[in-house]
Each structure stands twice: as structure tokens, then as C-alpha cells.
């Protein structure tokens, strides 16, 4: 279910101007809805005070699951389910289990993290997420404010914020 949102957004031509504008908005206590950029802008996370991503923690957990799955499974197969002697080695020949254990650790972690990444970002094959402007993936840097229920005073304040911080365009859009 999609909710319609009214958004006032400004487009900037350079990431340095954008960073300045984000800092100015923070100083003026304006609540930024989101910032969209064509590439990862260095320092934007700090300026927006975004929390550090926990994706790598998830990656570690997935990896650990992979390690245990591989190692315990091989242990179970060769010591309980069907013990076979290969080349006179012990049933539980740990060094020989290491390559597969390593590979599955990497595999589980990579698949788990990638799936988690797309899920938490609300992305999937064929998914259409509303975008504000086609040039955001090209060369425009965008700051968006939630304009739903904003009074005329607030909209004017935001518009003047945009013109003061050097936005090249300002638009009101319902998405």
C-alpha cells in the first residue's frame, strides 16, 4: 500500500553546496525528509547525523551461521551418519573440512548481506519506488522536505532556505 506524500524539494548542482545546505538546515532545525544523490557523498552521513549501518553486523552473523552449518554438517556426515575411512585418515579429519567451511562462511555472509541490503532499502526486482527527479541519478543533488500539512508560512520558510543555500531549482511534488 502506498501513501501519497507531498514533498518540497530543491536541487543542487554540486555536492559541496549540498553539504553546506544540509548543515544549514540542521542549524536552522529544519527537518530534512531525505537527501538523494547520484553517488555516495563523503561526509553526508555525518552531516545528516545518520546512524552507522548495522549491515556488517548482520554479515558477521550470517557468516557464523555458514561456518557452523558447514562444519557441523560435515562432522555429522563423517562421524555419525556414514563414517568412511578415506586414505587412512581419522573420521573426523578437521583440516580437510576447512576449505568448505571457509567457502560456506563467505557464501552465507555474502548472500545474507545482499538480501538484507535490498530488503531494508525496500528494493526488489521490478519494484518501483517513487523518485522526485530523473536527474538525481545523473548530476543533481536533492534535499527533500515533507510538505504534507505544512502551512504557507512553513513553505515560504523552506523556499527561502533553498534560495539562500544555493539550490538551482525548487519544486513541490506529490509522490
Amino acid at each position: 500500500m502506498k501513501q501519497e506524500k507531498e514533498v518540497l524539494y530543491g536541487l543542487y548542482d554540486d555536492e559541496e553546496i549540498l553539504l553546506g545546505a544540509v548543515k544549514a538546515a540542521k542549524a536552522e532545525h529544519l527537518e530534512i525528509m531525505d537527501v538523494f544523490t547520484p553517488f555516495p557523498v563523503h561526509g553526508l552521513d555525518e552531516a545528516l547525523e545518520l546512524e552507522e549501518s548495522r549491515l556488517h553486523i548482520a554479515g558477521f552473523i550470517y557468516g557464523a551461521i555458514g561456518t557452523l552449518t558447514a562444519f557441523l554438517f560435515m562432522t555429522w556426515v563423517f562421524t555419525r551418519d556414514w563414517p568412511i575411512i578415506f586414505g587412512g585418515k581419522p573420521y573426523w579429519s578437521v583440516p580437510a573440512f576447512i576449505p568448505i567451511t571457509f567457502e560456506l562462511t563467505v557464501l552465507f555472509s555474502a548472500i545474507g548481506m545482499t538480501v538484507s541490503f535490498f530488503t531494508v532499502c525496500g528494493m526488489a526486482p521490478g519494484r518501483t519506488n517513487p523518485t522526485l527527479d530523473d536527474r538525481i541519478t545523473d548530476d543533481k543533488f536533492c534535499i527533500a522536505f515533507d510538505a504534507a500539512g505544512a502551512g504557507e508560512d512553513m513553505l515560504n520558510r523552506l523556499r527561502s532556505f533553498f534560495s539562500q543555500t544555493g539550490a538551482s531549482e525548487v519544486h513541490l511534488k506529490t509522490i
Binding site: F36, M123, T128
Partner: protein
């Protein structure tokens, strides 16, 4: 931008690009009708792909008796080609992962195409273990799955099984790494297109918006995937070398194999990247993104890894002599002076001697030399695998089973066919996706674009302070 740029670093992006110009330059080849060179190349590679399908069908229909393998020579061109392709498939992940961790900015120009090349090379490599089993329809036996025969499990102690896991993991992780990197660029293509193209790119770009939080997660994901891929890429060829090193065949049973194979893989992978990049940059007019600086850097890698491989060859010879073990000594005597002496000469000449020309900066930066060398290295690395596999098996413990192995037309056809498969896939890739990572190149523009670091950087600096003053003044 608060980046420290050394004035002695050469620019990696030339032509005073703007962000929009970068988008335009890299995306437009996918939007125009293909040129004549592309159509010609595609036709040619499709013919070879057809040859691949035909010879594989022939092999499956009549069995691998159509190959010249026999009792002692159980591995011939099939495994030679497998190891060759897998080696080539190492450069992409090396460029994208290891160079990312080392913060080498020059990777951004070539990583996308190199990763694509990696994936296609691994696909070519994967064909050989599958078809050399003989009964392709039973190939799923290599995976441990609950079955009605006990269940009887696969042998987890066997390096051949480790290989199954290593290569399928490597392929999967490479695809994930490549595709997640591609998503923002596919969104760029989506936003530039209309109609059916827009619908298609919308499906493949997963609904990317470019939100700050998404970029933050994206960077976190790339970094961890790079961290995972780095030991992975080293493990894959290590495990491939275990296929040989854990056997008790003289000439194979050596502890030097893992590092020697990994160095060889990087060596041949970079050579293939050079071959492809030199053509791609010319045909798609990307000379300003894949610059002489990139070619120079890759040639340095080729020189270093080629020399490592050379040291490994000599070490092998020395250790064979020093071991005092007759069979080991004979295996190496046979490699150098036996009936396959020509392949040993080819290997030494192409892999060890010829890359030494790259000590010269002028040659490292010459397109003609680089292209010729990249072909040499590809040939040399193929010879290396042939030397290791065929010459060793042709002269085993029992002189009564000695023979001289030559491939049949089917084996040659399959090898040429995989070249067709590889180039067909790569040519399709250049038509549907940006061959240079658009977003990544934009992110290094201010740190490595020539208007910021080149001779005319000062002028631009002035413009920059003007922008800052203007922003501040309001």
C-alpha cells in the same frame, strides 16, 4: 572537497568532465544502435558460440571417447582450459575487492568491465568440469543432497569437491558484488530512458532512489563484500591448485602450487582485462576514463606477477633437483626437454621473459605493446597449464603406458567455442549496461579529474572558492 590530492598523481579522468558529461559518455553507447565493429565482432563470436554448442552436443551424444584422453592421460585440454579460464576469472575480483581495500582509485575506471569479464570467464571455466564428467545429466551428483542411496554423501575430504564449493561460491559472490554495484548505474540508465527500455531498466534497477541512507548501506555492503572477496579470490585458485598438489603425481605434488597458481591467475587475469579494455575503450570511445595511467598500472601488476611466476618455475626446477627424488627429477627433466619441450619454451618465453619489457615506462604506456603483450601472456598461461597437466600425465610411472597426447577436433572446438561464449557475453554486456562504473567515477572526479589535479587545476580551484564564497554570502 576536503580530499588531499598529491600533485604528482596523474589524473585518472581526462577531458575536464562534469558529472553530466560522465553520465552522457558512459551511458550513451548503450542507447545508440551498435556500430559496424560491434556487429562484426558479435557475428564472429556467435559463430564460435555455435561451435561450442555443436562440439558439446557431440561430446554428450557420443561420449568423451571423442576426446583423445586415455588410461593415463585422464586430463587433457579440458582441465587445461578450465584452469586457464578460472585464472582469467581472478582479475575482476582482485581489481574490485583488493584494490578497493587498498584504496587504489584507478580501479574505478576498469572494475565494472573486469568484474563482468570475471563472471563470464568463470562461466566458461565451469563448462569443463561439467562436460568432462561424461554424463552431464548426472552432474548434480557433485552436490551433497539427501538421496535414496543411504544417503550416500560426497567426499568432503576431496580437493575436487572443495573445488565445487570454491567455484560455485566464487561465482555467486562475484555476481552479487557486480550486480549490487551495477544497480545505481542501471537506475541512471532507467532515468534517462523512456517506454519499454524504461520498464526493463526499472525491473533491473530494483527501485533504486539514491537516498542518503541507501548509499550509506551500499557502501557498507561493498566494503564487507570486498573484505569477503579478498580471501575468497585467493582461496579459489589455491583450491584449484590442491586438485594437483594433493595428488601423488611427481610434478604435481608440490607445496609451492597455491601461491604460484594465485600469482599466475592474477597475471593472466590482468592480461585478459588489458586485451578487453584496449578494445573497449577504443570502440566505445572511453579513452578519457580508461587512461594510459590505468594501462600503466595494470602493466605493473603484470610485470610483478609474471616475475613471481618466473621465480616459481625456477624454484620448482631447483627443488626437483634438490629433492634427490628420481621421479620428481624426471618429471621436470621431461617438462623441459621431453616431447613437449615446445610448450615449456612457449610458457617461459611468454610468461617470464616477455613481460620484462614492462620495466620500460614507455612500453608500459604503449597501446600496441600492451595489446601484443596481453595476447602473449594469455597464450603463455595456457601453455603453463598444458605443461603442468599433459606433459606430466603423458610420462607417468610406467613407461609402458607412455604416449603422446594430441587433442581431437572436438576438444579444440570446445576450447574455441568457450572463447565464443566469453566474447558473446561480453559484447552483450557492453550493449546493456554501463561498462564503466558511473557513480564510482563521479565520486572520484574531484580527487582524480584532470581539472582538479592536472596542469589547469589552479584555474578550477579559483572557481571553487567562488562557489564557496557565494554559498557563504547568502
Amino acid at each position: 572537497m576536503s580530499v588531499v590530492v598529491s600533485p604528482i598523481r596523474e589524473p585518472l579522468i581526462e577531458g575536464g568532465k562534469t558529472y553530466h558529461q560522465i553520465t552522457e559518455d558512459i551511458c550513451s553507447p548503450t542507447e545508440k544502435a551498435p556500430n559496424f565493429a560491434w556487429v562484426l565482432a558479435f557475428t564472429l563470436s556467435s559463430i564460435f558460440l555455435g561451435l561450442f554448442l555443436f562440439t558439446v552436443a557431440w561430446t554428450i551424444w557420443f561420449g568423451i571417447g571423442t576426446w583423445n584422453l586415455n588410461r593415463t592421460i585422464g586430463w587433457g585440454w579440458d582441465i587445461t582450459n578450465f584452469v586457464w579460464w578460472i585464472g582469467i576469472g581472478h582479475a575482476g575480483t582482485l581489481i574490485s575487492a583488493i584494490l578497493l581495500l587498498f584504496r587504489q582509485r584507478w580501479r574505478t575506471g576498469v572494475n565494472r568491465a573486469a568484474e563482468a569479464m570475471t563472471i563470464f570467464a568463470v562461466m566458461c571455466a565451469g563448462q569443463f568440469p561439467l562436460i568432462h564428467m561424461g554424463r552431464l545429466w548426472l552432474a548434480f551428483f557433485i552436490f551433497p543432497y539427501p538421496n535414496t542411496r543411504g544417503p550416500l554423501w560426497v567426499n568432503f575430504n576431496s580437493p575436487l569437491l572443495w573445488d565445487v564449493f570454491a567455484i560455485s561460491t566464487y561465482f555467486t559472490v562475484s555476481v552479487l558484488f557486480w550486480y549490487t554495484g551495477l544497480v545505481p548505474d542501471l537506475a541512471t540508465l532507467r532515468d534517462r530512458s523512456k517506454g519499454i527500455r524504461r520498464k526493463l531498466y526499472n525491473i533491473f534497477s530494483f527501485g533504486w532512489t539514491g537516498a542518503a541512507k541507501h548509499w550509506q548501506r551500499f557502501e557498507s555492503l561493498s566494503l564487507v563484500l570486498a573484505g569477503l572477496s579478498t580471501p575468497l579470490v585467493l582461496s579459489v585458485h589455491t583450491i584449484v591448485s590442491f586438485d594437483f598438489a594433493t595428488s601423488v603425481i611427481p610434478g604435481w605434488h608440490t607445496t609451492i602450487f597455491p601461491p604460484y597458481f594465485v600469482a599466475g591467475a592474477i597475471f593472466s587475469g590482468f592480461a585478459m582485462v588489458q586485451t578487453l579494455m584496449l578494445i573497449t575503450r577504443k570502440v566505445l570511445k572511453l579513452e578519457e576514463y580508461i587512461t594510459l595511467q590505468h594501462i600503466d598500472s595494470m602493466n605493473k601488476v603484470i610485470l610483478v606477477t609474471g616475475t613471481i611466476v618466473g621465480v616459481a618455475y625456477l624454484t620448482e626446477l631447483f627443488i626437483a633437483w634438490y629433492s634427490g627424488y628420481l621421479y620428481e627429477q624426471y618429471a621436470f627433466y621431461n617438462r623441459v626437454l621431453g616431447p613437449y619441450w615446445w610448450s615449456y619454451v612457449g610458457m617461459m618465453a611468454c610468461n617470464v621473459l616477455s613481460p620484462q619489457v614492462f620495466w620500460s615506462r614507455k612500453i608500459r604506456r604503449s597501446i600496441t605493446w600492451t595489446f601484443a603483450m596481453s595476447i602473449f601472456v594469455n597464450i603463455g598461461m595456457w601453455f603453463e597449464r598444458f605443461v603442468i597437466i599433459a606433459t606430466t600425465l603423458a610420462r607417468d610411472y610406467l613407461p609402458s603406458s607412455w604416449s603422446y597426447y594430441v587433442p581431437t577436433w572436438v576438444e579444440i572446438g570446445i576450447f574455441l567455442g568457450t572463447l565464443g561464449l566469453f566474447f558473446t557475453l561480453f559484447l552483450i554486456f557492453t550493449r546493456v549496461a554501463p561498462v564503466v562504473a558511473v557513480a564510482e567515477v563521479k565520486s572520484i572526479l574531484k580527487a582524480a579529474g584532470d581539472q582538479y589535479t592536472g596542469p589547469n587545476a589552479a584555474k578550477h580551484h579559483h572557481h571553487h572558492t567562488a562557489v564557496a564564497a557565494q554559498t557563504g554570502a547568502h
